[in-house]
């Protein structure tokens, strides 16, 4: 490689380096999160100990409720995806549709499914206490046998 070509290659590499780094930084500058260029917002907010969590519960024939596994709720093994699926269904008024999807995946040991928002004191719950402060039911649907 001659000097002229070498110099061109060096400028090319400098240019690509600056471009790639500018691209990586750009979401933070623009305040727009995307993929794979992101603002890296994992756990960046302050969180209080009272939290509203979107989830789904199974209701048995006696009316007792129990939480449903990730696979049943959102066909995933990631709780972040599961909660985001339920939250987005509630926010976009698709809770009924999600409820039927969950009911189709749920076993026959429950009689109905409810898509809910629950308010918890997370520190109390994490340390084994009774934490439920409130529950709003956004959809309820039967489990077909």
């Amino acid at each position: 490689m001659g000097p002229a070509t070498g110099s061109r290659a060096a400028w090319f590499r400098r240019g690509v380096t600056v471009t790639v780094l500018a691209a990586v930084i750009s979401p933070a500058v623009r305040g727009h999160d995307s993929f794979p260029l992101t603002t890296y917002p994992m756990y960046d907010g302050t969180r209080g100990r009272i939290v509203t969590i979107a989830t789904a519960v199974g209701v048995d024939r006696l009316g007792a409720t129990r939480y449903l596994p990730l696979r049943t709720v959102a066909d995933t093994d990631d709780p972040l995806i599961a909660e985001s699926t339920v939250r987005s269904a509630i926010d976009s008024r698709r809770a009924e549709e999600l409820c039927h999807d969950i009911a189709a995946r749920a076993g026959s040991s429950i009689a109905a499914v409810e898509v809910v928002d629950e308010r918890h004191d997370v520190v109390t719950r994490a340390t084994g206490g009774d934490s439920l402060l409130g529950r709003s039911v956004h959809a309820r649907c039967p489990v077909r046998r």
């Binding site: 290659a9 060096a10 590499r13 400098r14 690509v16 380096t17 790639v20 780094l21 990586v24 930084i25 933070a28 995307s34 993929f35 794979p36 260029l37 992101t38 603002t39 890296y40 917002p41 994992m42 756990y43 960046d44 907010g45 302050t46 969180r47 100990r49 939290v51 969590i53 989830t55 129990r66 939480y67 449903l68 596994p69 990730l70 709720v73 066909d75 995933t76 093994d77 709780p79 972040l80 995806i81 599961a82 909660e83 985001s84 699926t85 987005s88 269904a89 976009s92 698709r94 549709e97 999600l98 999807d101 629950e118 918890h120 997370v122 520190v123 719950r125 994490a126 340390t127 084994g128």
Partner: protein, 337 residues
């Protein structure tokens, strides 16, 4: 000017001389960014990121392929897929996924790399972007994807590869010719810069969104408690260590301060030596703690692949050859006596 001054000036190399000129940052930056490296440095990075990404896809096949059954109403395309009107058909998803795994194997072993390198990088970008297009961005996959893009678009199969072996066979050479060049070092440096930038951005995000409160309040404790309660509410197993530690609220502000300071200090990893090692160990321990306390796993740094560009990776094959050489010489009849 004294004779000593003149003698000293004569001993200064042209590169040092250039460093005294206006804009002296450039030779220093170039000296680091464009430092020639052996082909094996980039080749080892190719093997590491290729192996990691291919295994990641193969092990996590279900979350990728289950998107075929996802409700189209949830589809919110992001990144390069933003122009899409709707989800891919099941066939497109399955074919792309299988192709990505096959290309990932070719990428890792360095076979037909001129094609398999960019093709695997492109396929991985499409698949991971698609997975993040259902209402939840998956930050655990972005650094892996960017690293594969960097390595896949560079000359990373000029060493330790099927392509190199094929070239040697054609030319009739039996030994590896040691190769060195800027083109083998620069992509590794670029990957290192991206890793460092990502950590600094993570700290900036915390400070920008929450200010100092993120460090000096109960926020981190509540995040840990929240992650565990969320697992509970989806009938999953939560972290016994995290739940136990939540009792000790005073522990969390110091942990938060250390986390943010370590993220901001990421550029010290570029200095090399003990600074780099200390930062890598400390940051790795942060990821281990997050996994232990919250069951939130960032596999790319947890398996150290994210930190690989900070090191002279050519030492790995050299060490493996030395071990193999010792074993061979140890198994000769003379030495076994």
């Amino acid at each position: 000017m004294t004779a000593d001054d003149a003698g000293h000036r004569a001993a200064v190399s042209p590169r040092d001389e250039a460093a005294r000129l206006p804009g002296r940052w450039r030779p220093r930056v170039d000296g680091w960014l464009l430092e020639p490296a052996p082909a094996e440095r980039l080749a080892v990075l190719r093997v590491l990121v290729g192996l990691f990404a291919t295994l990641y896809l193969a092990i996590r096949y279900r979350p990728f392929l289950s998107l075929a059954d996802a409700s189209a109403s949830r589809f919110e395309p992001v990144g390069v897929l933003a122009p899409l009107d709707g989800p891919w058909s099941d066939q497109v998803l399955v074919v792309l996924f299988v192709a990505a795994v096959v290309l990932g194997v070719a990428f890792t072993i360095g076979a037909w790399f001129r094609f398999s390198g960019p093709a695997f990088a492109g396929a991985l970008l499409l698949l991971t972007t698609y997975r993040s297009s259902w209402g939840q961005l998956l930050w655990i996959e972005d650094l892996m994807t960017i690293d594969v893009l960097i390595v896949g678009c560079s000359r990373s199969a000029d060493g330790l590869s099927v392509d190199e072996r094929r070239r040697r066979r054609r030319s009739g050479r039996s030994h590896r010719a040691p190769r060195e060049g800027v083109g083998f070092g620069w992509p590794v440096r670029l990957a290192a810069l991206v890793t460092v930038t990502s950590y600094v951005l993570a700290a900036v995000a915390k400070l920008r969104t929450s200010g100092l409160e993120w460090m000096f309040s109960d926020s981190l404790r509540n995040h840990v408690a929240y992650s565990n309660v969320r697992l509970d509410l989806f009938a999953g197993a939560s972290s016994p260590v995290g739940r136990w530690l939540v009792r000790f609220g005073w522990l969390f502000p110091p942990m938060a301060v250390i986390t943010v300071l370590l993220e901001l200090a990421a550029p010290v990893a570029l200095l090399g030596g003990r600074w780099r090692d200390a930062w890598v160990v400390a940051m790795w321990l942060v990821h281990v703690s997050v996994a232990a306390l919250m069951f939130v796993v960032f596999p790319f740094p947890l398996f150290l692949v994210a930190f690989a560009p900070f090191y002279r990776l050519e030492a790995i094959p050299a060490w493996l050859r030395a071990v193999a050489g010792r074993r061979r010489s140890g198994s000769t009849p003379g030495s076994s006596l």
